[in-house]
């Protein structure tokens, strides 16, 4: 589409190959949100790996989880750590960048280049803060679809994501089935459970209870609610691990000989969580955390389809689905994945499902899990064959 061109310098194929940046949509192309509000101008931070082929048929969209971003297979610009999925994306890896053009975007509402609560509100010239509109998983997907469109890609060979990324995958299948060839949903759910919402509420309350949160206007005040955000991260991090993994990693191990008889971090597990919290605040924005957790809580794919999940997939019969879960994941359990598979079956979709045996909990999809890699590889390469990419 003509009006999809960026407001900045025109981004041709050369720019795409060069690995991404920030796509700036003109003000005339706002993002229409589920809440009824619009977001304009819209910016999408994205990264690409590999080369888009002549027919533009080898594009894979990778969707990130709650605190992830577009730096899926390249070092993170703030932490310098390797990309969150560089085990999976790269030459010769399951998402083989010698064969596929992998696109990763930062979700709308995020803090790594896409328009979010930390962006400047054009009406006030100040950071949005709480004046940022509420966003949903469908809004994130709509923004991604705008970018894919702008890149001139009609059909994605695959859309792949874990956790919140998996929800985006399901939303893609519901909203843009004609633009998908295959879809991989890992360790995810078609809706947030009461327990999921409860944990998020703890995190949000921790942020909002931090006096430095300043009603969301902390940037203007020159402060940051790092304590609250760190606590939110600590609570959430527990949900990403299984009890067995925590026990195996830390047990009751102490940091030094004997107890301190105080409230220092005596136990290794305490020290680990404190570290997780402290390092998180360097790379993540507290308001983004509020908005994105809310988007997750609001997610209920069946609700927007007369309460019947299968109806969400009614038009996705041409899409090849792969659903994966981890046996020790209690955040988004195997039962949730099975519900998705049943709905896909009921809708007459072509679906595969595997539960991977692991004690690593929800986070297993980031970790060295050979069966995950093998399953992904098998599914993707056979889909590639069917797509004529072999």
């Amino acid at each position: 589409m003509d009006d999809a061109s960026p407001s900045g310098p025109a981004i041709g194929p050369q720019a795409i190959e060069s690995g991404g940046g920030t796509w700036k949509f003109p003000a005339a192309r706002p993002l229409r949100l589920d809440s009824g509000a619009t977001l304009s101008p819209l910016e999408i931070g994205y990264k690409t790996y590999g080369v888009l082929n002549e027919t533009k048929s080898n594009a894979v969209l990778v969707c990130h989880a709650l605190t992830g971003d577009q730096h899926a297979a390249s070092p993170h610009p703030i932490t310098g750590k390797p990309g969150w999925w560089d085990r999976v994306i790269g030459p010769g890896l399951p998402l083989d960048t010698d064969r596929y053009f992998v696109i990763a975007t930062n979700v709308v509402g995020g803090c790594m280049g896409s328009t979010g609560p930390g962006s400047t509100n054009p009406e006030t010239g100040e950071p949005y803060g709480l004046s940022f509109p509420m966003i949903t998983i469908a809004d994130m997907v709509r923004a991604q679809a705008m970018l894919i469109d702008a890149l001139g890609i009609e059909t994605l060979f695959a859309v792949v994501g874990g956790s919140m990324g998996g929800m985006q995958v399901l939303q893609w299948a519901a909203d843009y089935p004609e633009k998908l060839f295959s879809a991989v949903c890992i360790a995810s759910a078609a809706r947030h459970s009461a327990q999921n919402i409860a944990f998020h509420e703890v995190g949000r309350q921790a942020i909002m209870a931090d006096p430095d949160w300043q009603g969301g206007a902390y940037e203007k005040a020159g402060v940051s609610p790092s304590k609250g955000l760190a606590v939110a991260r600590m609570a959430a991090h527990i949900t990403y691990l299984s009890e067995a993994a925590l026990q195996r990693k830390f047990g009751r191990e102490l940091r030094r000989d004997g107890l301190s008889w105080g409230f220092d971090a005596d136990f290794q597990v305490e020290s680990y969580l404190r570290h997780q919290g402290a390092s998180f605040v360097d790379r993540f924005d507290a308001n983004s955390y509020l908005y994105i957790t809310r988007a997750l809580d609001y997610f209920d794919l069946a609700a927007s389809h007369d309460g019947i999940l299968a109806q969400a997939f009614q038009k996705a019969r041409g899409v090849r689905f792969m659903v994966l879960s981890f046996s020790s994941d209690w955040l988004y359990s195997t039962a949730e994945s099975r519900d998705i598979v049943r709905a896909l079956n009921a809708a007459g979709c072509r679906a595969s499902f595997v539960e991977i045996e692991t004690d690593k909990g929800h986070d297993a999809f980031f970790l060295d899990e050979p069966q995950l890699d093998a399953t992904l590889r098998g599914f993707i390469s056979s889909a590639a064959q069917a797509r004529g990419l072999a």
């Binding site: 099975r338 598979v341 079956n345 679906a351 499902f353 539960e355 069966q371 399953t375 098998g378 056979s382």
Partner: protein, 244 residues
Amino acid sequence: MTVIREDFREILRLVRPGARVLDVGCEDGELLELLTREKRVDGQGLEISPEGVAACLAKGLAVVQGDGDRDLDHFPTRSFDYAILSKTLQQMREPRHVLSELLRIADQAIVSVPNFGHWRMRLSLMTRGRMPETRALPDPWWSTPNIHLCTLRDFTDLCEDLDLRIDACAALTNGKPARAIDPVKGLENWRSESALFLLSRRAEDRPDAVPTDLFGEVALPKAEAPARPKRRGKSKAAEQPDLL
């Protein structure tokens, strides 16, 4: 060229091109791959072992990891043309439930069962006085996965009980070509090592019902034909002494 298992060859003959097929206990997907290649079916596997699932995925097949005993309940009614259960019915915890589920999910079921009434079984039991260990059922009683063994007569009785129609039946003996049989005949209960059944719900009005001579030789009695056992113990076949 790989050798096609004899029961697979028969299933291949039975399945309509382009049909929607569910293979329960599809293992490494060999049958589904064959059906996809030869009959262009829209196939779906159900397999419990992670190795089997991985093998299916590598073949590009759609496969759901699950248990035939538990997970059939979640497939929608009449979502397939055929549900295939080859050689695992006797390993199910509730074969009766599984069989009726297969015919809820699909219009027709293709089921194969080893025949415990085969003469080798009977002879072995009679002479050795121990649970038979044969070519078809090689495991000792304490480690066999086959927990619900039956004879052909038992199986046709169950079909009767569930009001299922036997559209076709073939006897399979290791390595030999399949032989169309009337499974109700007492002699077949002696000489068939295992049998493959094509079943459908009898109560249904099915204008598109497949002809009953799918195996080319024996025209099976129609559903209402007098030769069919109407109820256990009352039919002509059941009145015949099984010992011949």
